[in-house]
């Protein structure tokens, strides 16, 4: 699942608003058609968020957007593994701090068994969706950035538990992106090893439906993760062709759709060799 989880972190950006900073900055970024422009402009914004977190260390108003932007940048624009790991770690620290400031019991349960987390989640409601979702996506990205570490991989079931809780409140959360995360997480193991790609398929389909088909990265990951896992070339090629011909402009999804188009082109070019 090379970089998959961290790449989709960028989608979480759209939900953030940054206190005193211009409210539309994140939104503008997600609606930007030129990924290169965002790549070069975002670091200055990251440093600004660091400064704001340093000034208001316990304020989720800054912790949450900082976690989201660090996670997104690590996933999409960082090409250096050490840098990706550093940024993903910072994203997780920010998101976890925000969660722990607000939900101490859940925070303590994170180091316990999955059942303990489930128990603590029962006490939460939709007001905590953004906190839990941001932490879950930061945690998933951190695991991805440390995927050669078994201790990191061992934590994946806990991340799934958090996403499932989010989906139990809002199946369309974040334009269907919570579904995309679950799609990727459920397509890691083939059925022959006890994996449930049928669940992955359901999550990807849900994500596409939630965005009325405008979530092009959901289609790309559906092709890359599910169709390749099950060797379904027809589905793979159809999804990617749809992405290539689709209009990328969509509220909150334009930037990621542009990236999806770039990725779709590469995957489609490899199709014959992969499935032959």
């Amino acid at each position: 699942m090379t970089r998959i989880l961290i790449i989709i972190t960028i989608l979480a950006l759209q939900a953030c608003s940054i206190g005193n900073l211009p409210k539309n900055l994140s939104r503008s970024m997600m609606n930007q058609e030129d990924p290169e422009l965002v790549r070069t402009a975002a670091p200055a914004y990251l440093l600004m968020l660091d400064a704001l977190v340093a000034t208001y260390p316990d304020d989720e108003t800054f912790l949450i957007p900082a976690a989201k932007l660090y996670g997104a940048y690590a996933g999409v624009f960082s090409n250096d593994q050490a840098q990706t790991q550093r940024m993903a770690t910072r994203a997780k620290i920010y998101a976890q701090h925000a969660l722990c400031e607000n939900e101490e019991d859940l925070c303590l349960a994170l180091d316990q068994q999955v059942d303990d987390i489930v128990l603590e989640l029962e006490d939460l409601d939709e007001d905590e969706l953004n906190l839990v979702y941001t932490f879950a996506s930061s945690w998933a990205s951190w695991i991805q950035a440390h995927s050669s570490n078994w201790d990191a991989v061992a934590q994946l079931p806990k991340v799934k538990t958090l996403f499932n809780w989010v989906l139990s409140y809002d199946a369309d959360y974040d334009n269907g992106t919570a579904q995309v995360y679950m799609g990727v997480l459920e397509s890691q193991l083939p059925p022959s090893l006890g994996g449930r790609p049928d669940l992955a398929k359901m999550h990807f389909e849900n994500a596409i439906a939630a965005s009325n088909g405008r979530h092009l990265m959901a289609k790309v990951l559906y092709a890359q993760q599910y169709a390749r896992l099950l060797f379904e070339q027809e589905l793979h090629d159809r999804l990617l062709t749809e992405v290539l011909t689709a209009n990328p402009i969509a509220e909150g999804l334009t930037l990621i759709n542009q990236l999806a188009k770039q990725q779709a082109e590469v995957l489609l070019a490899e199709s014959a060799e992969y499935f032959e």
């Binding site: 090379t2 068994q113 078994w150 201790d151 991989v153 193991l189 083939p190 059925p191 006890g194 896992l229």
Partner: protein, 335 residues
């Protein structure tokens, strides 16, 4: 004219054949993409292609897309596939020598394994060759341990447990039968659900496997004594392999063998990290007391000679080699 055309076409075909001595080895495995096994096997394929100037390509079908190990072997017989990266046990009905490293309580550590491999890898390779299989790679998948929902420090603790053994695993089946229980044989694909629903509560697996398959979320204890060694092998059908030129065969053998040697080190490191991760995740490591399990395994192995489940003579030779090695190690340790 028609005759001319036929000759022309024939000569073109002949020309094409002489030019494209290219061969593609189609190899399937249940190992998923992204795993260290697949990464190294893919690296080997890339290297083979480069070193043979594209004359030999290796095409993988990962993630069990071609079915279980058993199905892969059937498809190899029908010619649909040329090879498989499979568990050693899957080949036991073809040549029982593949079980040599996986017999219970044979090794105490990987140094012992590596010592005997120098002698026995060639024997296993020859045994497979005699049965139509070319062994290209053999690698240690790590030691498997008994993992359960309760501490299994004595043999009696296994009573009443719902113990999984892989389908068709004669050896595992016999051990638990001697221990006095009926193990539950099922494909690996059913184990996680079995652990979830309570149909199973005890498995034998290596630490990294337990995490990769997420079984670690359903177990609380690990009996900290290596029960058996997991072995993975990459074999190809000899007839298919012989279609490759002798020079290219050497390249393929060397390149794949090197990849599997790298895997030995990667898997060893992986299991060290995975053990620590299991402990960090609250799984308790229990030290088995006494030699009961070893006595049970001994009895099981004795019973299994009657059904020729493993080559008893070679196993005795291996035990002798291990004895000499252990003595030499003790000698070195106490100057």
């Amino acid at each position: 004219m028609n005759l001319f055309k036929t000759f022309l076409v024939s000569s073109l075909i002949a020309f094409a054949s002489s030019q494209t001595m290219a061969a593609t080895l189609k190899i399937a495995t249940v190992v998923p993409n992204g795993s260290s096994w697949m990464n190294e096997m893919k690296a080997a394929a890339k290297e083979v292609k480069k070193k043979t100037d594209g004359r030999v390509k290796i095409k993988y079908y990962p993630g069990g897309v071609m079915g279980s190990d058993k199905t892969v072997l059937r498809k190899m017989r029908s010619g649909q596939l040329h090879g498989g990266a499979i568990s050693a046990g899957a080949l036991a009905h073809i040549y029982n020598g593949v079980q040599l490293y996986s017999l219970p309580f044979t090794f105490n550590n990987l140094a012992e394994v590596r010592h005997v491999r120098k002698t026995f890898d060639p024997i296993i390779s020859q045994g497979l060759a005699d049965n139509g299989f070319q062994l290209l790679g053999l690698s240690e998948g790590g030691f498997a341990y008994l993992m359960s929902n309760k501490a299994l420090t004595q043999a009696a603790d296994i009573q009443g447990q719902k113990v999984w053994v892989p389908e068709g695993d004669l050896i595992g089946n016999e051990i638990f039968t001697v221990a006095g229980i009926n193990p539950i044989a099922s494909p690996i694909s059913n184990v996680y659900t079995g652990l979830q629903t309570g149909l199973l509560d005890t498995v034998t697996i290596n630490p990294s496997g337990a995490i990769a398959l997420q079984w670690h979320t359903k177990i609380q204890h690990m009996a900290d004594e290596p029960l058996l060694l997991i072995i993975g092998m990459l074999v190809v059908d000899q007839q298919a392999f012989k279609k490759i030129s002798p020079e290219d065969q050497v390249i393929v053998k060397q390149t794949v063998a090197a990849a599997f040697k790298r895997l030995d080190a990667i898997n060893e490191q992986g299991d060290i990290g995975a053990r620590a991760a299991l402990q960090k995740n609250g799984i308790q490591f229990d030290t088995p007391s006494g030699t009961e399990w070893r006595e049970i395994a001994k009895q099981a192995l004795s019973n299994l000679t009657k059904v020729n489940a493993y080559p008893a003579q070679e196993y005795q030779q291996m035990q002798q080699l291990l004895k000499e090695y252990r003595n030499s190690q003790q000698h070195t340790a106490t100057p």
